[in-house]
Point group: C2
Chain length 237, copies 2
Amino acid sequence: MFGFLRRPKVRIDIPRLRPREDTVYPKVNLAELTPEVLPYLGQAAYVQLAIFEEVSDAIAAAPSVATKQALAPAASQALDKHERLVAEIRRRVDDPAAVIEPFTIGIDRYRAVVKGADWYEQLASVYLTAGILDDFFKLLAAGLPGDIAPRCITILDAETGRRALIDVLSDAIAADPVLGSRLALWGRRVVGDTLLVARSAIHLTGNPESDEQRIEPVFTEMIAAHTRRMDQLGLTA
Amino acid sequence: MFGFLRRPKVRIDIPRLRPREDTVYPKVNLAELTPEVLPYLGQAAYVQLAIFEEVSDAIAAAPSVATKQALAPAASQALDKHERLVAEIRRRVDDPAAVIEPFTIGIDRYRAVVKGADWYEQLASVYLTAGILDDFFKLLAAGLPGDIAPRCITILDAETGRRALIDVLSDAIAADPVLGSRLALWGRRVVGDTLLVARSAIHLTGNPESDEQRIEPVFTEMIAAHTRRMDQLGLTA
């Protein structure tokens, strides 16, 4: 009931929402849609590894040492989260890689789609998609049984180290309106792909109507948080 | 008197030495050849960043999630060392990047030369060249003034996380004699390039004879340590 390979044939319309002040999700939760513990952990762990790899790639291609250094915490924080999620898997099974492996093809395909054509698009993708996916896996965690739920939320809520991505991007956007309008389009594009990935990770109950009633407000909140991130970059969502 | 751009026109002969048990350098030290503190720290910091980037690149191209996970500590340890060395620079000046930047072109050129033609050559390069450069910068540190010397040695002596590189490489070499003979040649090749980089980082006194007398035993020990690393991989140095 999950798996990034099986893309639902759904067109996701992205409403334009005004930014709010805080990222709070009081009204919605995905508890009934949460997959089993191991698939949850496997996907969440691979997403963090993917964030690490994308940031590392951006570090390698960064235009200066100062930028490399500024981006480094985002890489190390994602790797730390990956390792802590792997430790949770290892508490349950001997071979964490076997739990993660089924999700790699779908996530890698998604990564190729949202990679971007240049360094700025890549950086914007990392910042925006990692933000959406962090939010999503935190929301999903609420449905995990026992103390694994708060532990996962603690892991995913830790410092992202992505402040530097905002600084680099918003400086570049402020200096170049053409880049700004290109990245605004790009930001609108990656949110759709990312929500499809999120959707494929949800455990559907089999009742389409009640599933949609649960999913829709959650996605609306996730898009609102995305809009706030776009605003931080100086982009119109 | 240092700088990777100015490659000395020296042919370095690599003697074949038998492995010893431990990496100890009792007889030799580079104290008089150590550059000033800031250039030392700038080069050492960028070398660790380069190791991080090379390992990250190998993680992104790794054939399985299990291998990615096994390699992750080598990336995070190198990044941690980079950040600790940058913190040492920041204790002295406001802009660490400006201290590091002059060394990037030379080191990046060297990295391109020792990158390797495939994933195994890349992995062997990281393991072998990082080992030589760690040894070298530890030896150089002895000539730094005050408590900066022991602090740098502590940073560079910390866990490398590279055990997994040995495991991945020695398994592959044991399974494929053709790969083994290719990597043996490759390992001999990268040591020469790496010693030239090390040589360019040395502060020469201007007396070629006494400089050579100091450098030669140090390089002999570094090559002996390299030979032990080749042995660990199952390769003849």
